[in-house]
Point group: C2
Chain length 243, copies 2
């Protein structure tokens, strides 16, 4: 069976969806141009969208679901670099740098993704300089974030990095439940979380155990409950401003 593909037919990019993304600067005609050239496809969890070292054929707008960007090392271990949520665009870095993909994209939760060929993108970049400016800004911000991550992984202990990651995930999938505690469902396997922290799954497991023993957090499967989120934030601060 062939994967489900379809022209977007004015459905892919629409004013509500692109709100807050780089695409929001497009005019109605440009949106139409996008939709005429883009191809939508739904991927199941585990499917790859593109691989490291592939030529960059265009870019990928995540419409729903969750996508992970990863690199693979010599022994086959993978390191998760970042996550792409609905509204995020993938593949713009290699496109703008004029390079091949330096990381692969794999679907983590069933996702529909809109592919826009390079040529169409170039057309849009020329017709609307604002679009380029938007991606320029986003790339520059991503560079800052990447430097930050490097800095943190070499200066902070794994425990603080883990708590930090939890606090970031809170923005994506956290909910405050009636009694004031924080509740979230992590969309990642332990192995993937560990790789984002630069540690092994076993080490993460011990770390989780330790934090749980202190009563700060309760884990069960992918479900996390934090009784007192502020306490964790304090620990991050303590990790930074050491006396």
């Amino acid at each position: 069976m062939k994967p489900m593909e379809s022209k977007c037919q004015k459905t892919c990019l629409n004013p509500q969806f692109i709100e807050g993304t780089e695409w929001s600067v497009l005019s109605p005609e440009e949106i139409q141009h996008f939709n005429e050239n883009a191809i939508c496809r739904t991927y199941e969890a585990g499917e790859a969208i593109f691989y490291e070292e592939d030529d960059c054929k265009g870019l990928y707008l995540v419409k729903s679901g969750l996508v992970g960007v990863r690199k693979v090392d010599a022994e086959g271990g993978h390191v998760l670099l970042r996550l792409a949520n609905p509204g995020d665009t993938l593949g713009y870095r290699p496109l703008l740098a004029g390079e091949k993909h330096r990381a692969g994209a794999e679907v983590l939760k069933t996702a529909t993704v809109c592919f826009l060929p390079k040529i169409a993108m170039r057309h849009l970049l020329i017709s609307n300089p604002e679009l380029g400016a938007g991606f320029l800004q986003r790339t520059a911000q991503a560079l800052g974030a990447a430097d930050d991550r490097f800095f943190k992984t070499v200066t902070l202990p794994a425990r603080i990095r883990f708590i930090h990651l939890l606090m970031i995930m809170r923005e994506r999938c956290g909910r405050i439940v009636e009694d004031g505690s924080l509740y979230m469902e992590l969309p990642l396997t332990r192995r993937d979380i560990a790789s984002m922290l630069g540690i092994r799954a076993e080490s993460l497991s011990r770390l989780v155990h330790e934090i749980e023993a202190e009563g700060l957090i309760h884990f069960s499967g992918n479900l996390v409950t934090v009784s007192n989120p502020d306490q964790l934030l304090n620990e991050i601060d303590a990790g930074l401003h050491f006396p």
Copy 2:
């Protein structure tokens, strides 16, 4: 005594110097506009050009010398993120991202640096879209490099990372001496090298000792001699493609 500052007076940006940099796309009039607004200044080793968290007031073109970009952690330790050689431009990331500086710049070897205010830069970006495209590309490449560094620091052992760094430095300051061996003068302290690798100075010291004992390299102060550079390259490959 006030630091030596001066208007560039047509001297700063000139066709020979900008060859191969992002600035090479400027027209003669634009070059003039740059020179009229830029301010040159010479810094001694150890001086700071800007600090982390400073507002970004413009960008800095390194004309000569060597500049380091670093972040400082809670206990006052610094991590060297990257080096800026003559022709490199600093501060474009925060400018383009619309953020404050997220790292500081410190002169490592006496450097003359040309400062171009934000407003003048905006003017140039508008008058010449090629310039923006150039910085876009460079930013995108830097992002790829930053991801790569993170990936390497979590997957490769310190030893391989060190050799890797040496091979990168070769391109900047390496010379092949008459008998075919490689000779270089590292413009960095041990502490700074260690911070780039994400390890402590003591660990680096032991590492150097170990590699020297194997006869691969000889260190004396900042001077490095590599009798057989290919052997080191092989080791990097071995570190990647493990059976």
